[in-house]
Amino acid sequence: MGNYTVQFTAMGSHIQAWLNAPSLQGSQILKSLPQWFEIWEAKFSRFRPTSELCDLNRHAGEWMTVSAPLYEVITLAVQGAEATGGLFNPLILPALRAAGYDHSFEAGDFVPGPAALARTNTTADFHEIGFRPADRSIRLPAHSEIDLGGIAKGWSAQQAAGILAALGPCLIDAGGDLVAVGSPDESGGWLVRIPDPRTSEIAHTVLLCDAAIATSGRDYRQWVRDGRALHHIIDPRTREPAASTVLSASVIAPGADGAEAEIWAKTMMLDPTRAHPFPALLFHDDGSIAMDSEFEALCRDEMQ
């Protein structure tokens, strides 16, 4: 058995997948990953006017039949909003755009959008998102817009891992959010390193098996507008980039659940004191590092 890997760019991120397979020929499925991510991105991207998500946003207030993946991811997002008391809210897109994040980070230096572009006074209530399973329809609250950014990427990584797992242990890295299935060697899982966001030096190494890890932070996807440092972690309570003391938060979700890991990493960014169901590691602005005992149990720092 050997590890085989493929890497490409999608969803504004570097994507890489590893598959433990008996031969190169047995790893050929890896060559299809760019296509899978392209199909998913064509559904979930808010930066593509032709995406299914953009179409749904344009029809806010109306029932619209959507694809099974979009229905599933929006369902997961609303479930995440319920579980986090609304700290994770997929309807923050107008606030995100008002903060200047109105186009992709994908190419070149990021120049934020103008402040006056989309001032928002409220964040729509996620409870008002309507689901009609019979015809797989969704209705967004009128004048609202949904953003699936991180959760869509986590879901996509999870789907890809689920497909590859039938062929062998696998690991998907979707821009720093990872889903790990099985183990490529006797170590019992895949070893993933977590750098300190202030220094980029490796702070911890964790062992993941049938688990997902997501890291959310203010250290990337940030910009300055009118002399004010802004970032993409929007607090739905203020509709502004979060004034959090947390620089980055990593959360490990069992069951290779990339969407759950993403939901809780973002939630821990917004409220680090909140009770959380999964192992978490926090890097604070003051240099302190906090982790719970469950996260510590997964650390294999001696192996980094």
């Binding site: 493929v6 760019t9 590893w18 190169l24 991105e41 062929l167 990593s250």
Partner: protein
């Protein structure tokens, strides 16, 4: 579900690839569950050229630049396949664009690649 190529027209390596593809297809269909899934593969090099993925060369762990049949022909692109969860072949509709920036080359990797988990960044 689209057609499977006639196995009688394939050489041994191609048959192996088709077996892998069919196994993967069954896996996808199982995993995606309620989603309607169309999963197809093609053994035709001409068709492969029209497909989004599987356009890159292959590097094996021994440094060979491509896998070949005994007769010297390249077989790996015969393993190309695509699926659409809406039951539509998006490539054939002409509406499908591949914005992924890379050619999907496969490389060998160490047993523990030690990837980093960090906040999402542009590539």
């Amino acid at each position: 579900m689209s057609k499977t190529p006639n196995a009688r027209t394939l050489n041994t390596n191609q048959k192996n690839v088709v077996r892998i593809v069919l196994a993967a297809g069954a896996t996808v269909a199982t995993l995606i569950g309620a989603q309607t899934l169309a999963f197809s593969e093609s053994a035709s090099a001409a068709q492969a050229q029209n497909q989004v993925a599987n356009t890159g060369s292959v590097v094996d762990p021994n440094g060979n630049t491509a896998l070949t049949n005994n007769d010297g022909s390249t077989t790996l692109d015969s393993g190309s396949y695509q699926y659409s969860d809406d039951g539509q072949n998006q490539n054939s509709s002409g509406s499908y664009q591949n914005n992924s920036s890379s050619q999907s080359q496969i490389y060998s990797a160490p047993s523990q690649p030690f990837p980093l988990s960090r906040s999402s960044r542009r590539h």
